[in-house]
């Protein structure tokens, strides 16, 4: 997973070559890092490969829930092979005051760069099928 994360850095540096990336291996490490400083952009993979966690999906969504509750102004980019998992937090996402975008990890990197730029600008962009999933 870290290979993909490193590539994320490479592509983010295409937006801003001075960008510095911090890769954290677990939700807890990410929480600790957020406690130390607030980054310009937080890239979250919902399918976290966390050792000891019974359910990868639960831990990723739980972390996103934590971020949305505790850092309402943070710019967030969800970059996951299973972005549908974030649907359950749609109400929290709507209330989020910072930038927020969701990008399917299996799309080309141009979509990643576009999503990151949207979030960095403090705007919101989610897939069409995502917001009105129920209706």
């Amino acid at each position: 997973m870290e290979d993909v994360a490193r590539n994320n850095c490479t592509f983010l540096q295409m937006i801003d070559p001075k960008a510095r990336c911090e890769i954290v291996p677990s939700p807890q490490a990410a929480k600790d890092s957020l406690a130390r400083h607030i980054p310009d952009l937080l890239v979250v993979d919902l399918m976290l490969d966390e050792k000891g966690e019974i359910d990868q999906k639960t831990s990723g969504v739980a972390f996103l829930h934590y971020v949305l509750c505790h850092h309402p102004h943070l710019n967030v980019l969800i970059y996951s092979t299973n972005p549908e998992l974030a649907k359950q937090l749609s109400l929290n996402i709507e209330k989020h005051k910072g930038g927020f975008s969701i990008v399917d990890k299996m799309e080309l990197r141009t979509a990643f760069i576009a999503g990151a730029s949207t979030a960095l600008l403090g705007e919101k962009r989610t897939p069409d099928s995502f917001v009105d999933a129920a209706y």
Binding site: D3, V4, T81, M106, R109, S129, A134, Y135
Partner: protein, 645 residues
Amino acid sequence: MSYRTVLGALLGLGTSISYYALLSFLPLANHIDGSIYDSYIQLKHQQQHSEKIVIFSIDTIVGGAPQYASVLEDLLNNSQAEVVVINPPQHWYGREANENGRQLRQLIKQYKDRIVLASMTAPIDAEYQTSIALYNYMIEQTPIGGSDTPEIEATEIHGFFEFAYQSGQNGIFDSPASRHSLEGEFIRDDDSKDISLKSVAALALHKLSQRTERDVSVFHSDSPLTSTARIQTPIWNLKAQIHNLSELCGGNKRIGDCKLSNVERFADLSDKFVFFGHTDTQTNAAEVHAMLTPRGEMSAVEVQANHILGLQSGDVYLPLRKWLAIAIVGVGGVCFGIVINTGISGLLAQKKNHWIVRRTLLSISALFLIYALTATSSLAAGVLLPISAPIISWAIAILTSSFVLLYRNQERMVERQLSSERKVVIDQASKQLQSIADRVHQDALHHMKLAMDWLELIQIQSPACDVSVPLEKMLRANQSIRENLIDTRLCAEKLPISSELRLGLHMAIRLHTKRLRKRDELILKVDMNANPIRENSSSRWIEAREGIFSFYRESINNIIRHAQPPKGRSTKVAVDLERVADVAVLRVTNDGGFSSTYLAETTENFGTQVMEKVASRLPNGKFRRRVSAKGDFQVELSWSMNGFM
């Protein structure tokens, strides 16, 4: 009280009363009880002071009615006999128009308060009225208004005596000699009219009590718990009280001139009951009316004397009323049912509880012992408790209840075992599917992504190098793998039955709604009317139920997202689940949530498609959405439950 205890009690009650009713029709229980009662009563009442009884045997007398009248007149007038019971010989019949009967009629008219005429009848039956022949020729008639009118009422002078011919040992227990009635309703042989008579013994004692103003206790024993319909009195041997009239009159077969009052021992018969009738079965078998008694064969006259002695001495045994006997059997059945249920539970418990089994056996024995003691003490107090029928009923009820409870438990254990095995297999399959999907996600897709990144970086670094074709192919492969993975995950999630649904669809709806309210996701007032819809356990229904439940979740989610404040204006939501005949309906209604415009806009969206898909998979499934004039929004799903039989 648990469901199982109630089931055990009902099983005990039902089986014991059913078997008791069945046994009541069979003579076996009556024979056993009769044998016990007779043995006890005869043992207890060995000796009787029978000096109050004088029986005159008329076996060898050939004299006519006037001669008897003369002897009787002597006994009543000179010897002052208290009560004379006459069993008229058959040759007295046909004396109506005969002057010979006049003396007899005069005698009866004069001493009507001291004479009882014994009229033979069949044993009284609760089902139908028995006919009875009366001795009209012994009652003086007075011509009034052109027709003869009897000077004495038939009921004043006639006492009935139940006679039945029995043979063999078994006959003793059904004999009216042992168990007899004090009063009865009959149909008169002469004019077919109803007549209510006292028994010979009851009428004799009634005359005694009226004359001497003494009370005879048994006539007032009108207890709500015991019945006087068929009482039992002891039988004594009264052979010593029988006197052959012919011998007493010096071997003279004509007894008209015989003055018994001159014989010393018959000079004073006050306070004594005098009986007239045939007693010797050898010479007059037809007239004796011999009956089987616990003390051997006896003439009707001896039995009548025994009944009077029993009633007068108060040695009377009364049977329990039928409803009370049934109630006792029912209460016993309930006790045994509960005890058996506890025992079976202990026996089948995973760690067999031998103490419970031992305690159950002890309790059963104790209950039987308590009843045996109660029956014995009741017998001593003069109450005849049914013995064999309740005990046999309870014993069969215990066996039946044990069998039913064991069978039911066994069935449930097998079902539970199968169910848990099914659950393990399903959970395992579900986990395997999830695990495969996760591995593909983590491994194959991860490497695919790295390869795509690599190609995209090459493209950026060397724009001349065209990687669009491999990238396009990889994107398609990704898409295909992803779609298959989503299907696999959905399949894995659907495999196990939703835990809430195990309790039924109505409970799942209630629990889900409660959970949403607890988490403050649903803040509207909820009017919950989810009722049980008599679900079956077919695999088709269990599968369809998952779909219906997801329909409900989807509906309530829509309300939370679009009708509940802050987005909507709704204040309450009503949930209805009901079944009418074979059609089940699920309705979710909220007030003022959606406009008809919104409804038009959303007909093609994802949620609607899901709901329509659920409806299309149900037998006669119909999905409707409507907005009322008030603006209430209703989602309705209906389907046929018969499709899941």
